[in-house]
């Protein structure tokens, strides 16, 4: 590249550098701090580790052992898994049936109902808590896993159904014609042909929904606060911030525990994740 072009491009590179720095420094600070000794964290900034980065003795796993054992975050981590995996599986399953129904079956009111679904995608969940809570306590679902599975499934259904529908509606019609000539029932067509074709779309919806539920705070606060021993990570960490707000060794390690799984999912399945986002928005 010739020097003139390089100089012309310098502002561009600098701007991008500033953006990248603002986006990575906060997370970097959190990560470094989570491995430092509590006394050091309170006494000096995390950036002071750099001059003697390789001299050793600055970092340890103590804080992680502290939050996972002492603060009971192991339990919360398992709770988070036990909330998000079944809830995601149930909602993807139900949504794929509904998406097929809306895309390829004919029945009265199909269009109206689907428009209702599109409208409900953005409804504030705040509208739903007050009437459901009394029913939940009567049915003894408050503070239970099945209770929150059902709630998350229902709340996720409009968007997941819409996303899967967009994909299924794009399947060529010929495929269904030949299947029905071969005498396949709608259910067989759905189960044997449509589902296998839709695996990539289902995967991105699954990842999307999984991260949404894993990261959710509000729904868990509302439906699980009756019993602290079922609290997911987000709720436990919010409590830690309230009760131990200055204990940064605990907060940083705890926050990173909650971020670890989403980051792994993000980096290993980035392709599906991005595809899910694009399916939801660009098509509009």
């Amino acid at each position: 590249m010739n020097p003139r072009k390089l100089i012309a491009k310098t502002p561009l590179h600098l701007t991008i550098l500033v953006f990248a720095a603002i986006w990575i420094i906060p997370t970097l600070g959190l990560l470094i701090t989570s491995f430092r000794d509590p006394a050091n964290i309170a006494g000096s900034g995390w950036w002071t580790v750099f001059p003697k980065l390789f001299s050793g003795g600055q970092f340890s796993l103590e804080n992680y052992i502290g939050v996972l054992r002492g603060e009971g975050l192991t339990r919360s981590f398992l709770n988070s898994l036990f909330i998000s995996v079944p809830a995601t599986a149930i909602s993807t399953f139900i949504a794929s049936f509904a998406a097929f129904g809306f895309a390829w079956m004919r029945f009265n009111g199909r269009k109206i109902l689907f428009m209702l679904l599109v409208g409900l995608m953005v409804i504030p969940l705040q509208m739903t808590f007050i009437p459901i809570l009394p029913i939940y306590s009567k049915l003894k679902l408050a503070g239970t896993f099945p209770g929150i599975w059902l709630a998350h499934t229902a709340y996720g259904l409009p968007l997941t159904t819409y996303l899967v529908h967009n994909f299924m509606a794009g399947i060529p019609k010929d495929l269904f014609d030949s299947a029905s000539i071969d005498g396949a029932s709608p259910f067989m067509t759905f189960w044997r042909i449509v589902i296998p074709i839709s695996v990539p779309a289902l995967a991105s919806v699954f990842i999307f929904q999984f991260l949404w539920i894993w990261n959710d705070l509000l729904v868990a606060l509302v439906y699980l606060s009756a019993r602290p021993n079922v609290a997911p990570l987000t709720v436990s960490i919010a409590n830690l911030v309230t009760n131990r707000g200055q204990d940064w060794e605990l907060l940083t390690a705890a926050a990173f525990v909650s971020m670890a799984l989403p980051l792994v999912v993000f980096f290993s399945l980035q392709r599906y994740f991005v595809r899910g986002i694009l399916a939801g928005s660009v098509k509009g």
Binding site: G45, I132, L150, L157
Partner: protein
């Protein structure tokens, strides 16, 4: 000796008539049942049942509940009708007005910055070789929880008195340039609200960037080249070609952002819990429900959110209908 009625009023006739009517009715119901496409409904029934119970029914009841008083039951003998009292409270109480003001501030700044930065990044990153790396960096916050992000930024904003070493990045920079450390989350009303909005922008810019970048890459490059050859400056290419072509996508992204930001809750709940004039509608609604046990006011607040979001709901439906029509 019983009276025998003759003619059409005889019991036998009536029995026959009713019997026939019953049979006709059965047949009609049977025909109607057969006309329903059970198999079609079977596919959508589970989803529709859940949606009806968890979304439609509660929406109706919450609207109704907003005209009733305090208490933690939906309706019942202890819940009294209060007419518009919750509503006048929402639009006159100072804390509520602060919450409404903050939601407006969030809606404007958050949406402008996320979409604006997303657009700028999408166009700029297309011109450098390390596009993928920077995109990943900007996008990472979208994958983590708002609770996690709140802890990350609470640490950035950490405050220590001037005679101690600063442990928060932002105050360390301020002190390094000779300033006094600032209580970022306490300085009301603008600094702390801006600091909270920054957290939101940090989380959602990546989302906007990914979508706008995909749209940008769909623009035929010869179009831009032709303009450049004709002597258009980079700014004019951006202003007169790129921007109009990206406008529809940017509008979609902006509506998504507004809908997200109106419901903003987690960041406020974790970082300030609405203290120091940082209250927002959703956080206030949570407090009314679980701290003050006033389902009436909480319902009214939820309905405020709904009313603010309804225009976007209609927009989504109309956009969808137009798209279906074009298919």
């Amino acid at each position: 000796m019983g009276v025998r009625t003759k003619g059409w009023r005889s019991p036998r006739r009536i029995t026959l008539f009713l019997g026939r009517l019953f049979l006709q009715g059965c047949r009609a119901v049977w025909r109607w049942l057969r006309s329903i496409r059970w198999r079609s409904w079977g596919f959508v029934a589970p989803a529709l049942t859940l949606i009806a119970f968890f979304l439609v029914y509660p929406t109706v009841m919450t609207v109704a509940r907003s005209f009733f008083g305090r208490g933690t039951t939906l309706f019942g003998p202890t819940v009294e009708f209060v007419g518009l009292r919750n509503w006048t409270y929402v639009f006159t109480n100072p804390v509520m007005l602060t919450a409404l003001r903050n939601n407006a501030l969030w809606a404007v700044l958050f949406t402008a910055c996320t979409v604006g930065f997303g657009l700028v990044l999408a166009v700029m990153l297309d011109r450098v070789r390390y596009e993928r790396l920077v995109k990943s960096i900007i996008f990472i916050p979208a994958a983590i929880s708002m609770v996690g992000a709140s802890v990350v930024w609470k640490f950035v904003y950490a405050y220590k008195p001037a005679d101690l070493n600063q442990i928060g990045v932002l105050n360390a920079i301020v002190v390094a340039f000779g300033g006094e450390p600032v209580g970022w989350l306490i300085q009301r009303p603008w600094i702390n609200n801006l600091c909270l909005i920054v957290v939101g922008i940090w989380m959602w810019t990546g989302f906007c960037m990914v979508i706008l970048s995909a749209a940008y890459k769909n623009i035929p490059k010869p179009l831009l080249e032709a303009a450049r050859i004709d002597g258009a400056t980079e700014w004019r290419v951006f202003r007169n070609i790129i921007l109009p072509l990206l406008a529809p996508t940017a509008a979609v992204v902006a509506t998504t952002m507004v809908v997200q930001v109106l419901k903003i809750f987690d960041i406020i709940f974790v970082m300030t819990n609405g203290n120091y004039s940082t209250e927002v509608i959703a956080n206030r609604m949570y407090k009314e429900m679980f701290n003050f046990f006033n389902y009436g006011r909480a319902s009214a607040l939820a309905v405020v959110l709904l009313i603010l979001i309804v225009p976007f709901m209609i927009l989504n439906i109309r956009r969808f209908a137009a798209q279906e029509g074009g298919r």
